[in-house]
């Protein structure tokens, strides 16, 4: 069997394993769903009035709910980073990974399975969060091409975030460590245009907020779903997605293939 088809076959096997894990251990998926929905409700019903006044309404695509919903979708993807990191670190510590390493299987398949599983989980979560947003009054475009592009961007961003999550999981060594790294990364979402536009931010923060990974993705998504101007955000968003995917993928692969036992004489527990 060629090495490519064997990689695909082993990755699918690992994906099946990951899906079974998600079904039997659904806490992670549930919290990944609950957090964005709570944030959506909180910012929409509690802070929405005040923040919406600052934004000045229609210029940003109508109601504050409309402004908020695409950002919450991006934050949903971001929260997936932590659950991916935690599930990777738990898997690595479980010892079965050591067994996989002594088997003649595609090395990449172990991480591929995790990434594909997280991708599916996150996209399903996105669907549910989107449903709740629509119920709360989110009124996006009905243009199918724009929707397709929006979902494509979300999928691409999810891929990037998931590979970063896998890397955090491998660097973190413990669930707490992995979670901390992912949460630090997620802080970027709060210094973005998720809740307010850059116009109200202080000088250097504004500059940072404009170019960090979350903002271009959110602004492009708003543009696609609400018809606001996109400008160079689409290009920046795709560049960030590809860049983060590459960093996460190469980083994760390097750490996974490294002799992890050398730094730690206790066998993988």
């Amino acid at each position: 069997m060629s090495s490519l088809s064997s990689t695909v076959q082993d990755s699918v096997t690992m994906l099946r394993r990951d899906v079974k894990h998600s079904i039997r251990f659904p806490m992670m998926t549930i919290s990944g769903l609950a957090v964005p929905i709570i944030m959506l409700a909180l910012f929409n019903y509690v802070f929405g009035g005040a923040l919406g006044a600052v934004l000045g309404g229609v210029a940003h695509g109508g109601s504050y709910t409309n402004y908020l919903a695409p950002a919450i979708l991006v934050i949903t993807v971001g929260s997936g980073c932590a659950s991916t990191a935690i599930s990777v670190v738990m898997d690595m510590n479980a010892g079965i990974i050591a067994r996989f390493r002594t088997m003649a299987i595609s090395r990449a398949s172990v991480l591929n399975g995790q990434v594909l599983g997280s991708l599916i989980r996150t996209m399903l979560t996105i669907g549910l969060v989107l449903g709740v947003a629509l119920l709360m009054g989110f009124r996006p475009t009905t243009d199918p091409v724009a929707w397709l592009a929006a979902l494509g961007l979300i999928a691409l961003f999810t891929l990037a975030i998931t590979w970063m999550g896998v890397m955090f999981g491998l660097v973190g060594k413990s669930p707490a460590g992995a979670n901390s790294l992912a949460q630090l990364f997620l802080l970027l979402a709060f210094t973005s245009t998720a809740f307010v536009s850059t116009a109200s931010m202080a000088g250097w923060v504004r500059y940072f907020a404009q170019y960090q990974p979350f903002t271009p993705v959110m602004e492009t998504l708003r543009g696609l779903l609400l018809g606001t101007p996109i400008g160079n955000n689409a290009m920046l968003a795709v560049a960030w997605c590809l860049g983060l995917t590459l960093v996460g993928y190469l980083g994760a692969r390097a750490i996974y293939n490294r002799n992890t036992i050398a730094s730690n004489p206790t066998p993988l527990l």
Binding site: M1, S6, Q9, D10, T13, R16, R17, K20, H21, R24, F25, A94, G95, I96, A98, R99, F100, R101, T102, M103, A104, I105, N259, I261, A262, P265, T266, P267, L268, L269
Partner: protein, 319 residues
């Protein structure tokens, strides 16, 4: 089947394998005996392609461990302290996962899984997750997972550490059956009786070096530990017994004589029968069987100092 020359491995400044030369013949059980920290697990990790060595050569099933790791991986099965089962999947699903990774067809995979569950008495627990298993069941599932790919060489890293005596016997029988089927087994253990029961050859690993190697009998001859200690009523009894049983360490003040033994009941009975036929009265009998500490003291000149870490390691292995 397994061959190493000058194998070396250090973790930082700590030398774990200090030039190991070892040969394991096809279809035999080779036991690597030593206390915790001797380097047994590291040896298995290197030979099973889990970690790199710093120097030396190693071949398993005809392939270079460092240059053709995938060929080695295709020929081996690993069970032990560091390999494990998936706790979220059921026993059966764990085996089917292995079948999928060995690219067996669905049908062949199900058949193989059912066979192994049956053989290792896990059929009743097939639909349960390993978190509900006893230690012995977990170990059997772990071993079964390593057998899905029909390996020619099996590494068993402390297969019975932490098991109760009954599970231990079951595991021994499984290991004997495996080797009867033609596979080659490298077993690590810290129990002398386990190595004695199972192995064709035993190597004693101490602080990263092989300090002795041979058949169980050859090794036991080098250990003065196993003996029967006989105490007699008077000096004439001691004299007479020495004439019958041969010279051994004797204490004329305590009126005792030590006779080498393999520790079996039959040997004890034979010794006592011979004394009875000669009408020599024995006041007291004590049997001292050689344990790992005797072996170490005899062959290395120092006692095993690692025993106090034993419990911690077991917890880690069971988790």
């Amino acid at each position: 089947m397994i061959e190493t020359r000058g194998l070396r491995k250090s973790f930082g400044d700590h030398v774990v394998l200090d030039g190991i030369d070892m040969d394991v013949a096809e279809g035999t059980i080779f036991a690597l005996l030593g206390p915790n920290g001797a380097g047994k697990t590291t040896m298995v990790q290197v030979l099973s392609t889990l970690i790199d060595a710093d120097g030396g050569e190693a071949r398993v099933a005809g392939h270079d461990v460092f240059k053709e790791p995938d060929a080695v991986r295709a020929a081996i099965g690993v069970t032990g302290q560091f390999s494990a089962v998936d706790n979220i999947l059921t026993g059966e699903e764990n085996l089917l996962l292995m079948a999928d990774l060995h690219h067996l067809s669905r049908r062949a995979g199900r058949k193989r899984a059912a066979e192994l569950l049956e053989r290792f008495e896990l059929s009743d627990a097939a639909r349960k997750t390993p978190t509900t298993y006893s230690g012995g069941m977990r170990r059997r599932l772990d071993l079964a997972m390593g057998l899905v790919g029909a390996p020619r060489v099996i590494f068993l890293d402390e297969p019975t550490t932490g098991l109760d005596p009954r599970s231990r016997r079951t595991m021994w029988q499984i290991i004997r059956d495996l080797v009867a089927g033609g596979v080659t087994i490298l077993l690590t253990t810290q129990y002398l009786d386990e190595a004695d029961q199972l192995a064709n050859r035993i190597a004693l690993l101490d602080r990263g070096k092989l300090v002795a190697e041979g058949t169980p009998d050859e090794l036991k001859r080098r250990i003065p530990g196993g003996h029967i200690s006989l105490r007699f009523a008077d000096a004439s009894g001691l004299e007479a017994a020495t004439r019958i049983l041969g010279e051994g360490p004797r204490d004329d003040n305590e009126l005792t004589l030590q006779v080498p033994t393999d520790g079996s009941v039959r040997a004890l009975k034979e010794t006592l029968d011979r004394l009875e036929r000669a009408a020599i009265a024995v006041d007291d009998v004590a049997v001292h069987t050689a344990d790992l500490d005797d072996v170490f003291f005899a062959l290395t000149g120092h006692h095993d100092t690692h025993n106090n870490t034993h419990l911690n390691t077991q917890e880690g292995a069971v988790r």
